[in-house]
Amino acid sequence: MADKIREDGVVSAEGVARAGTRTPKPQTHRAQQKAITQGLRKFFDTVASEPVPDEFMALLQKIDGKKESDA
C-alpha cells in the first residue's frame, strides 16, 4: 500500500494508520465535509466555465432557429 501513497499528498496514510480508527474531532469532520462540498462545487464550476466546444454549434444554431446558411 505504501507505494500507492503520494509523497506530496496532504493526507498522510501512514499518519492515519498510526492514528488507528480514532474518530475525528467534530470540527475536523465538519471542515472536511465543507471541503468536500466546496471541492465538488469547484469541479462543477470549472467544467461549466469551459468554453462551449465547437461541436455544439450546429445544435445551438438549430436552437436559435437559424439555418446553417444564416450563420
Binding site: 465538488l40 469541479f43 462543477f44 470549472t46 469551459e50 461541436e55
Partner: protein, 210 residues
C-alpha cells in the same frame, strides 16, 4: 418563479408555447449549455461522452418543448431529461461502467488547488468511485439545487437524497483519508485514464450500490 419541478408537471396537458415563450425557452437552452455539460461530466466522467449526453439532452428538450411549462424551473426540467438519457443509455449498454473523470480530473485548473486539507484531484478520483445515485445526489445539492429540488429531479423522496448525500460524503471522506481502499493512481499524462480506475472502481462500485 423558479419553484421546484413537480414530478408530474411536464406530463400535464401540454399546450404549444406562444412565440414569446418559445423565444425565452430557446434562449434558456443556450444559457444552460455550460451547466448541462458540467452535470453530464459529473455523471459519466469522460469529456466526450459527457458532451454527447449534453447534446442529446438539448436535442430532446427542443423536441419536447411543448411539454415544458413556461415559468417553471428550466434547469431542473433539463436535468431530468439529462439523467433520463444517461440512465437509459446506461441500461442499453447493459454493463456496469464507471469512468474516471479523465481530463477534468487531471486538468491544470484542478491540479494545484486545495480546499482545507483536501486535494481536489484526490476528491474527484474518489468521487468517481461512488455509485451514480450518490454522485448525482452530491453534485445536485452541492450548490445548484435544494434537497427538495434534487429529489424531484431524481424522482425519489427527499429522505433518500439526504441519505445518499450523507453516505456519499462519509465514503468520500474515508477514501481521501485512505481508510477505505486505495484511490486509483494518478496518471501524469493519461492516454486513457479510465483504465486504471475502471479496474479498481468497478469492484468497489458493485459492492456499494446506491
Amino acid at each position: 418563479m423558479n419553484r421546484p419541478l413537480e414530478a408530474h408537471e411536464h406530463q400535464d396537458a401540454p399546450r404549444p408555447m406562444t412565440k414569446e415563450e418559445e423565444k425565452t425557452f430557446r434562449a434558456g437552452l443556450v444559457e444552460m449549455v455550460p451547466v448541462l455539460r458540467a452535470f453530464a461530466r459529473s455523471l459519466c466522467g469522460k469529456r466526450d461522452l459527457a458532451d454527447d449526453l449534453a447534446q442529446e439532452t438539448l436535442a430532446k428538450a427542443l423536441q419536447a418543448r411543448d411539454k415544458f411549462r413556461p415559468g417553471t424551473n428550466l434547469k431542473a426540467w433539463l436535468f431530468v431529461i439529462l439523467r433520463n438519457e444517461f440512465y437509459s443509455n446506461h441500461r442499453r449498454a447493459k454493463t456496469v461502467t464507471n469512468y474516471a473523470a479523465a481530463e477534468s480530473i487531471h486538468s491544470d485548473a484542478m491540479e494545484p488547488e486545495q480546499h482545507a486539507s483536501l486535494d481536489l484531484s484526490d476528491l474527484m478520483r474518489a468521487f468517481n468511485m461512488l455509485p451514480f445515485e450518490q454522485k448525482e445526489a452530491l453534485i445536485l445539492t452541492a450548490g445548484e439545487f435544494s434537497y427538495d429540488e434534487a429529489a424531484a429531479i431524481c424522482g425519489c423522496a427527499v429522505g433518500t437524497i439526504k441519505s445518499r448525500v450523507s453516505r456519499a460524503r462519509k465514503r468520500l471522506e474515508s477514501l481521501v483519508e485512505g481508510k477505505d481502499g486505495v484511490l486509483p493512481a494518478r496518471s501524469e499524462h493519461p492516454e486513457d485514464p479510465t483504465d486504471a480506475f475502471f479496474k479498481f472502481g468497478r469492484s468497489v462500485t458493485e459492492k456499494a450500490p446506491g
